[in-house]
Every structure is written in C-alpha cells, then in structure tokens.
Subunit: 293 residues, 6 copies
C-alpha cells in the first residue's frame, strides 16, 4: 500500500521474512542478570539490529552480499527477569528447536551466560563439538558471588559440558589466578593474542564442528566502549575481522555475539562493530556449513 | 512457534495488526530537514514507540484502555532527505489515503512542517476545519532563511490553507514581533497559557471538525528537554494533559505530535511524555469522533 | 596523621562511625534484577551517598541538623546477582538484625522489591504495621512475566504480608486495570495526588507504627529523570518534601527510598533529591520515633 | 563580501558592534576556581551566548525587542587559572572601567565569586548600593576550606562591602546553621521563596541603586540542571521571570548571572534559560535606568 | 582596551584578521541535509574551531608554525535549510570567489556533499584537476532514496565533473556492490588501506593540480566516533597524518574536511583530530602551492 | 557482623588496611585548578579507585597478584580550592612524610602540577633523582597565562628542581616551538614515540633512582578520551603497558598518574586504563625497589 518502512530497523539488515525458507536464524537473547559492574546488555540485540542499517549488505572484503543468503531474524526471546534458570531453559529450548529444524543459529546477547544453553543444545546435535571463544576474560570461575551460573563462570560450565579439551580461549587478558590455572590444566587458553594462536590451531579444528562465541570485549575498549567490563589492551576491530576470515574454511555450526552494552557508548560504534562482525560471520559461515550432510 | 517478541517495541503500545480493521492509524513522519539549531526529530517516531512500552495500556485518569480501541501502527514513511517538497508530497498522499479510507490519522513527527500537508488533506475532507495548535512558537513567519516551507513558517502556511480565523494558537511564548502582529491580525493567538484560553474557546469549537497539532515544546523544557528549540517558561506535563481532557467532547478528526528530538534527552522522558500524550489523545478522541457520520 | 578524606564521600553526609551508638542505620540494598525496561538501580546507594555531600547537614526548613542525630552508614549489602530469592533473604536478615538491635532502619534501594523483606521483618516487630507508599506505580500485579517477586508485584506481596487494609498508596498514576481494581478492593489507593490524600489519612495513622517506602518516581521525571520507569505527571520535589513535613508527628519505624537509577541522569539531581529527602526523613522521624517504648 | 556569519554565535543575540555607542555592555567572567563539587562554570558565557540564538530578540511578554536597545558584547575576560586574587582584580578593573564610562554592566559568570569585585566597583559609584541576590545558597560562610574568597563566602564578603543591611537574599534554601544565624543578624534573608518576599521589599528598594545577582540555582534543578551545586526545591523558570517583571520600576544599575555549568546539561536548557533571563533583564532595566541623570 | 578574548574561540587557532592579506581562507559549510542515519554535521565547523585551541600553533613533526602562514577564517556560510540546490549554489559561488581572488580554499563541512560545488569551481580554474578522496565510503551511488544529490552519491557526481580517471579513492571499506563495480570501471578505488596505495600513486600525481577531500570516517570510529555513519575497520589517526606527510610535495590547490558530527562524541576528540589534520594540511600545502604561477 | 561492603569501592582494588604495615601507599591528589580548557581531574582518584574493581587483582601478563604486595590507600588529600600554592604545599608535606616513613609513594592526580611537589620531596631523599615523563605535552613553558605554576609549566619547574639533564620526556607530540627549543637544550625530549626511545635510555637509567610520572594523555584519546587536553596521535594502551614492562628492572622510587578527567568519558575506559596501569606499575616496581637499602 503506502511506502512505509514499519519494520526496517527492527530486523537485522538483509534479513528476509519467513522462518521456513531460512538457512540461518537470528535470535536475540537479552539476558542481563548476573553482570555485577553494570547492566544494559539487554538493550544490545535491538541496538545492534538498528545500527546494522548503518552498514551495507555487501562486504567488499568478502565480495559477498547478505542478499545471497537466506536468513531471517525472529526478534528477541521473552526472558523472565530475575530468574536465571528459567531464562537459560528458554534459550536452550529455542536453540534445540532451531537445530532440530536444520537451522544455523545466530544468537545476539545479552550477557555471556547465554552461550551455555546454546552449547548444551549444540553438543547434542554435534558430538565432539569444539567451542571457540574470543574474549578478554577467562570466565572460568567455579562460583561467582556464590552462584554457579554467571557471566564469570560460563566457560567453566561450557568446559564441563563439551570437555575442556574442546574449548579454545583466545585473547584472554583478565582473570583470577585460579582461572588461568584451571585453564592451563583443562582448556586451551591463549593470553592476549587472537590472530597468532588462531593460525596455530586452525588446522587442528579442520573438519570438526565448531561453535564460535564472540565476547565483544575481546576488542579493546577504544573500539568497543559499550560493554559491561571494559578491559584495556585488546585487539583492534580489524584483527577481530581478520580472525574470522582466517577461519573461513571451518565447519562452524552456529555462533553468538555477547556483552555489547549500548548504554555506555554514545557514538553507537560498539553496536555497529557488532553488526559488522555478525555480517561477516554470516557471510563466511552461514552458507557454507551444511549441518545436515 | 517460539515465545518471541520480534515486533513488540516496533509498534506503539497496544497497536493491533491489520490496517483494514483499524479505526485510528499511526504513521511516523520523520521529516527533519529545516531545523536550524539542531536536528534529530527524525529519530522521534521510533523512540516514542519504544518508550511507549514504559507506559501501561490503561489510563487510570480516563478509566479507559488502549485495548478497547481499534488502531494500528504502520511505521515510518520513507522520506527523501534534502528534498522537502517531495517529503511533504508523500505525507500529504498518505494523509489523503487514510482519510479516504475513513481512518482517524495520527502522525508522529518529525519537525513541525509535517502538519502542513496533513492539514491540506484534512481540510479537503472536512471543510471549515479548525486547527488547534499547542506550541511555544508562533511559527508564523512568511519566510525563514529565504524559504517558505520551514518549521518556522508552518502555521503561516496552515493559516493560508484553512483561513487564519480557523487557527487557534495556544501556549505561544516566542516569536518575532512581526509574527505576533500577524497573529493578532489573522489568527487566534494566545500568549503563554494553555488551559485558561482553552476554557474560553472550547464552546466556540463545539461541533466543528478540529485538527490538533501538539508541538512538544509547548511544555517547559524541564518536562520535555528533548526538543529542537527549547523555550523556557512553558506549561507542565499535567497541564498539557488537562488541556486534552478539557477538550474531550470536541469533534477531533486527527492529530499530530511533533518536534520531539530524543538526541538531547538522556532520560527518555520527553519520548515517554509524548507517548503518554498520544495515548490519552487516542483514548479521548480516536474512538469518539465519527468522521463518516 | 595526614589531612585526608579517605571515606568522606563513601558515607552519607553527617553519618557517624560506630554501629553501637547509632540510633538510625543506613544500609544500601543495590538489588537490580527484575527491572525490565532498564537497569542501573544498583548504582543508586553509592551515588546518593556521594551526592549527599552537595547538601548541607543543616535543614533550614526544619531548623535541625544531622549533627544532632546519632546515625551510621554501613555501606551496601553484598547481593548475589541473578538470584532474587537469596537477595531478598539477605535483606530480610539485615532488617531483622537492625530491628532486634533497636535501630531505626533506613534502606536505600535498589529496585522497589527491596521493600518486601524489610516489611516482613518490620511487621514481626511492629504488629499492625501500616505501610505508606509514595509511588507513581501501583505495583499490585500478582505475577509479572511469570514471576511473583518483581518490582511490579511488590505491593501485592506487601499487602499479603501486612493486610491490604494497612497499605496506603499515594501518587499512583500508572498500572494495569486489574491493579486498580485490586487496589480499590483491598488497599487504600489514591490516584495522582500526594498531599491532599495525606491530609485526609494523617489522623487515621496517628499513633500506629508506620513504615514509609518512597519510590522516587512519585516525583515527576522533570525533577527525578534518573529512574527506571519514568512516568510523566508526578508531583514536584517540594510537594514530596511537604508530604514528609505533614507526617511529622507519625510514629514512623523505618523507611526506604528506591528506584533511583543514576545512569540516566547526567546532572545528578535525582541523587541529590533522594539524598535531601532522606536527610529530611531522618531529621523528622529518626530521632522522634521511639520503637522500644 | 560573501554571505557569512563569522561571528553570529559568538555574541549575545541582538548585540551590536561598538563599545562607544553602547548603553549596556556584556562581559563574560569565566572564573571557575573555587567550586569544590564540580567545575565547568568557565564554559557558561560562551554557551549562554550560543544558546541565546535559540531565542528571538523580541519578548512577547514585555512587548519589547533587543533591537530597541544599544548594547554590545565584549566577549570573555582573560583570567589567570589558579590565581583567584588576580582574577578578581581583573574583574574589578573591568567593572570600574565600564562604570566610569557610564555603561550598564552585565556580567556572565563563572562562579558566584565574580559578583564581589563588581559590587566593590559599583558601590564606589553608587553609594548606598543595595545588592539583591536570587540564590539557593546563602553563601555567608566566613571561610570555606580555609579560604576567605570562595563561592561559599561571597555574600559574606559582599555584606562586608555594602553593609549587611543593604543585602537582600531571596530563595535561600541551603546553608550551614551559622550562615542562617549570620543572615538573620546581618542581612535580609528570605527562605525558599522568591516572589512573595519581593512583593514586600519592592517598595523599600524604590529609588535606591540596586545591583542584582542571579545564581541560576535559585531555580529548581528540573529547570536548570546545568549548575555546580544543584539544590532541589527551587522555584520555576516562570517564577524567576515574574520576579524580574515585578521589579521593573527599580533603579537597577547592573546585574550578573552566575553558576551555569553547561557540562551537566545535555539539553542546553540551562543556558537557554540563562539567556532568556538576561534578555528580559536587559529589556527591563538596561534602557530604563539612567544612572547618570 | 580591556584584556578580552571576544573572538578567540570563534576562529581557527592561528587565523589572522583580514581577507586581503590571506593566502589560505577557511570557510565553514554546515550543510547537513541529506544524512539519513543521523544529523549534526552542521555543528562541525564551530566545534572544530573551538577545539583547535586545544592544540598548539606549532607542529613538532613538521617543525612549522601556523604563525608562518597567512590565512584567515571567514566563519560559516549561511545555508538555507531544506533546500539542497540553493545550498550547493552558495558554496560554489564562494569557492569561485576564493579561487578568483587567488586564495587557497579550505572548507570545513558539513556533510560530504559540500565537496561537489567546490570541485566544480576548482576544475574550472585548474583543468585536469585530480580529486583525492580519503573516506570509508565509496559514495558512488547514482541515486540515493530517489535523489541525485546526496552524501551517498557525491563522488559519482564528482567523477562526472572531473572524469572518473581523475578520481582517487582511498580507505574505502563500505558501499553497495554496484558502487564498487562502478569504481572499478571508472575511478581509481582502493579498498581499506590508505598509506600503501598512496605510495603507489604519489608519483602519478606529481605536478598535477590536486584537490583533497577528507571524510573523517576514513579513520576508525575509535579515533573519530563523532561522525554520521561510523564504519569499523578504519586507519588510525597517525596513519591519516602520515598520508598527509607522504603527499607533502604535491601541488594541492585546496582541501575540505567533512562529516564530523560532534553530537555523538562527548570527549571532543573527533573535533580535535579534525583540527589537527587541518593544521597539518595547512602547514604542508597552503604555503607551498602557488596556483597563480 | 552483617555481610556488607561499606568500603569496597572506596579503596583501590587489593589495598589492605593499615599504613604501618604497608610498603606502598596510594594517595589521591585531586588538584584541578590550572586547567584552562576543561576541568574535572578532581574526580579522577575516586573514579579510578571505583573502576579498579572492574579489574582482577591478578596480572596474567606478569603472573603476579596484588595480594602479594603490602600496600594501602589513604584516600584523597583535602586541597583548598583556588589556592594553588597551599595545595602544592600540602602535597609536598604528604610526599615528605611518606618518604620519611620509608614508603613507596603512589599519587593519583589531579592535574599534572601535582608532580612538582612530589619530585621536590623525592629529590631530597634520592639525590640524583631521574624524572621519567610519559606525556603528550612537553609542559615546558616558563609561564602560562602569567602564572609560573601551571599544568603547562610543570616540567620546566621539575627540570629546575632536578636538573634538566635528569629529565626524560617521552611520547611528546605537542608544545609551543619554544618548549621544544628549551627541551632540546636542557632535557632529554623524545618526539611522539615511547617504546623505541625507552629501549635506548633504559640502560642509562640503570641503578639510578627514578621517579615516573604518567600523564594519561600520552595514550591516544581513542584509548583515553577522558582527559583535559586530548591530543590525537598517541600510543596505544598496550604500548604504554609494554613501556612499563620494559623498565621492570629500574630502581623506581615512586610514581604518579595524572590528568584523567572522567567527566568526558561515558564508558569509563580511561579510568579502567589508569587503574590497570597503576596495578601493573605497583606489581613491577612497588615491591622490588628498596629505597632504604
């Protein structure tokens, strides 16, 4: 009828209508409960969608266009505030449903804890699943402020689910001493750097099902100030994108991007960066991976 | 399927799906071209929709609920940047279509200039149309910076369209000397106050078709800091709402709310106020007015 | 030794050292878990303490000085993130301890849910306890997003604890229809206004033990923009303070001030207002009330 | 030559070129040294000039226009940072020069301390000078943090210069107990209110030379959030303007407006309010008063 | 007379008075009409001038001082809001006048569209003019939202004016697929990088008249967050400055710097960077180039 | 008694109670008087302490933990506003006391001028003291706006105290021509770079007592936007930290970190960076240096 854009900004740029025809599916998981220092990750999925429209659908670096992809954006999950367990249950249920339907799941957090239920669902479908974490923080505490389910313990729980030997942690530059000790004994933990260790491990991961979780704070707060626990000394935006290009050939079966907190970034560049990283990851992995074969 | 709220925040609270069944229709008109001091009114419709969810659908003051109303929210018009005339043409076309379909039009600006094409469309359908303006500024210049179509000239143009004798201007507390001289000679212009003059004119307007345009800056910048040209000395939020209740019985045939600029209001209260004013105006007028009878 | 002010800003202005000698005791309860629209109330206690130093210890209106009072400030409770029940348990334990020690409890929230465990503790010590709520929102839902413990249900739970007939709700201007229906049937709910209904009920409350809970959003967002769910149309700062002076003679046995969210107020005036309201409430009630007699 | 506005925003709206022909002279005094809680008043003169262009030159309330006035704007004084005495000396020298040249001085602060050297200069020219202060704070301390020259002691110093019996303090709602005791013994101090006491004293001041100093924090922080020590409970913008209109007939010989701090007001409304108050004061007093006759 | 700095901040640091004696001339062109995502470039010229005073006049890297240069700053052009064509006409007229008078033109935008009329004027004076663009975006669309004159089409129009073979585009990392196809066929377009391609082309440009247009978003948003369409993955501030030093020997005949949007940068560093880049470009090119010879 | 964290955020992370047992001592020196462009450094010590809790006590890069160190945090000095000399006297007195007690002094500014009295105290205890300055600005003016004690003259004064030949200035990229001339003649001044010159001079400094002063603006404003005079073109956060690691073996006898201005950094990353740099400097130097031996 009229020339209106009722929904333009409410979907990720390039997303098409219709779940059934979609290969990849974006879901927002605005969990924002266990962050101690400051909250606001709940606003991330909407903000990232809105700022994705600053970008183009075309990636000159990849020479590909979101228009070549079949993907939809379902919006945000309804999560109960103050009830972490129930929130995790709903995220898991959703991830299971997507995987059962043969979709490539793309979750936008929310705090890092959202990765746990998705990994739980993914490892059931893809035994031997590898989890590749790009992050400033080890997130390997066993308990945090008396709680076992927290943004600060999430990778410990993930390691328990998929086996520490299947967890690769890159860019890590903050954690308690005990976390690094645990990491050295159980996971593959790499300090500070992202690109160099990836070059080493890329071959090892070849052919195995990989789930990628990107905590935006792996990037230096100069590039991504809008995050819950900014940790100076991270990589640049370009290095993060190079890391994705480097892993182009991997059998990635899903990914999430977490810990954007738009409240603390007036410029919006954290959300734009998140959107660009999601666009590049979609273009690199969402078409290529063929989970059903 | 999944419990998702993909579109929750992208519609005004309580808006239903479906144009055909709707009695009132919300359209965003993010025109944002002629403001000199600062731009940003383009963000208003989306911000107002999003912040409408801070409110409830129920108005305790009116004892009514948006759920009792049939109204939809079409989203924002696509306006060409830098081409004011074409933008105005599209707004007019949309207003004409809504009126032709028997709808009650609700436009969310955008700058004040958006009122002009809506009034042009409305006066064709409702001869003898009265325009009731709540505003801090007279907007009665003939030209502004050499342009005849501007936020500073809009009510002069409106007066030319409907006849100055059908224009009622309330709360006006800023303008050039020539504007007040023009106002005194041609329109009904009331300085500073809103409620008292309304009490006087309410009876005069009884039974006549009335279009209401609310420039949010009629309210003091303490209550509505997010606006393009804040003018100290305005009324309170409550007074603006009392004005609406006072005019409950009028035959209002449509309204707009303009000049919210969310960029300059960190708290979001300007957008919440705009949403609340829209909710109350919808509850008071959108059901009662029966343009077709 | 050296002239240092290590702790100046970390205590409420005028607070003395030493729990034992104190008559009134300030505790921060940074619960910030169930707010849906935006989080940040966790930062309130610290911000309010810091901004209390903008004020003087002396109240010219009351002619009294905080120096005449014996009160201390214990700092903030350690609350587990993401575990609402455990958080409520700790607040209750603290309130019980304070009351057992004959103290006058002053809690700084955090979200409104913190009032519940304090009231639970207070009603055990003061049977027949009246709860006086100054708030924009009724908070009378039975469940909110599937949860029974939420900022939106807190007064329903409070009414269940002390009996609805002992709950007085003032300034209420937002809620679902069902909340007002519940309120009319069970509590004393007064729409919009604060001062006039207080004048009516002041005598009724005379001599009875009263707990006061102030949600800062009872004040209009013009005066208190830093809050989680700003609702236009509230009273002014002065009216809130007049309400306190009006209730000077009551037997108040404790109070809280909740829902300040400093993240959304660049000017800091919400925190200063909260500090001033706390100062006046301390001066009016914390000395006079003698719970042990 | 070219159509450029090189200097438009760098002068107060309506200011003409040329010192010699001017009756009133605006000078910025960006002193910003003794504020403890937060600095930024140095930015006020420029910000107020820039935001004065949001206004019109015409005041509909007064029916007068800045174009009818002869006044110029000299820009800001160069003040040495960290040397309060030298800064005060320069302000005094400037004020003396303006008064010697028969000008009507208008100073834009800076912190409140700037009033002292202007009053020192004015009382020499106008023996029996009355100082009328609109302010939230008494500023009557004898020393503040060991210093005698401070924003917190300025009115004590002023009282010493002109005699406490010639000092009228209105709107005062904050101060130490000793300040109010001093005020009651030495100056005319009026708590909280502005308009009512003015009505009382207006006649007393009739015919006497009056210097007016407006601390923007006399207005509630809802209306003027951009200030150094926001104190809740002040008057509204309208009340401040009514106070000026009320004093229309006085023999005012100069005025200042101080303590705007634009850093803490994203909306700019504090600066617009300051500009509007200056415009009205110029229109009311700068033409009418004829000190030389 | 008095020690005042009325105009200090209203001119670019080091600018001298007097058009006639000036070799280089700064003009602000606050065009801000066609940006879709967010407006605010209109504030850039003033903000950049003001923040230029954070810098010194001396460049330690170049060993030169603005004091050695003869240049003036005329302030901002008066542009009609909402009438792009007329705005472009005025900019062109100004550029023609400057070039006719033998000046070295320096324009501060405003949006990128301002480059077009300057290039139109420059190519008439300097046939064979090369346009060197440092930018994140190709800006090569033929139409954008139905308009041919837009920030998104500006380089397409420029290419039509000077011939695509005379357009060099560096740092480009965003655009639609069709833009890159057009670029590859018509202009010299270089992806992502700035320094390396410049080294290649510097010799080619030797001796030819070159106009340089710097879109501040060529730099990563970490360094320049205050811009209309932030695109992650850009170069650093230092790289941009190195690019300028690299091109030291070129026959540059004028330059512009566009797309700073101060509204989204609380720190002001985008404006300081812009001012520094302008200072270095002035020192490198404005003296050396001798257009009349 | 109760589980409270009254003082958690008011001390630097890991700081222990008790001055006597402490080896290193943190003192805040919120001097904020001579900055011309913008004030706010007074807020830095508190902000840095608060944001230090975003970090961990453990440094994975160094493999050390603040728990291994004995250090306390005394809070902030009380400085008189507007009296620079008295402020400097108090800082000096404090530094003398710390050194007399055999402590390793750690000062958090405040503006850069705070370094002068500390150096004065330190050179008395450590004859031949070397001062190592990491900074964007030379700070070598003899007078600034007529004052000899200013943030812009501090290193000139320091050079006079310890001898220019003992002053090493790194990362310098801004200053008047005369400053660089003075620097070349008197101090060791290195342009732009930090790491490379450090490698050269590290050996020269071996065994000599060194005082380190870090002006946060040595880092690019992308990484540290919250500072008084942002100067584009600085090093990255990582490079600053590498500089510290490089100087691990030096006999550092104290350090300060100055010029953080939190008012202009919404994200808080400048304060986190400052806290991290302080943590690393504490871990590297505060244990190893043994001034008494």
């Amino acid at each position: 009828m009229l020339e209106l854009d009722a929904e333009r900004y409410w979907r990720f740029i390039g997303a098409q209508e219709g779940y059934d025809g979609a290969r990849a599916v974006i879901v927002g998981a605005p969990l924002d409960t266990t962050m101690t220092f400051r909250a606001g990750a709940r606003h991330a999925p909407r903000e990232i969608r809105q700022f994705s429209w600053v970008l183009e659908e075309y990636s000159p670096r990849l020479g590909r266009d979101l228009g070549e992809l079949r993907f939809c954006d379902l919006g945000d999950l309804c999560l109960p505030w103050g009830n972490v367990r129930e929130g995790l249950r709903r995220i898991r249920e959703t991830a299971e449903r997507l995987l059962r339907d043969g979709k490539f799941p793309v979750f936008i957090g929310g705090e890092h804890l959202v990765s746990l239920p998705i990994v739980e669902a993914a490892v059931e479908r893809y035994p031997g699943l590898v989890v590749l974490q790009l992050d400033a923080h080890a997130d390997l505490l066993d308990e945090y402020l008396g709680e076992r389910y927290s943004h600060a313990t999430v990778m410990r729980r993930v390691a328990e689910v998929v086996g520490g030997e299947n967890v690769y942690q890159l860019g890590i530059r903050s954690g308690a001493r005990e976390e690094f000790e645990y990491g050295r004994g159980h996971t593959h933990i790499f300090l500070h750097e992202v690109l160099r260790p990836l070059e080493k491990i890329a071959r090892t991961l070849d052919g195995r099902p990989v789930y990628v979780t990107v905590d935006i704070d792996v990037v230096d707060p100069a590039y991504a100030p809008g995050t819950g626990t900014p940790e100076p000394g991270g990589c640049s935006s370009l290095e993060l994108m190079e890391a994705i290009y480097l892993l182009r050939g991997l059998h990635v079966v899903g990914f999430d991007l977490v810990e954007v907190n738009p409240v603390y970034d007036l410029s919006g560049r954290t959300a734009v960066l998140a959107a660009k990283v999601i666009r590049e990851m979609l273009l690199v992995w969402a078409n290529g991976a063929r989970p059903e074969e």
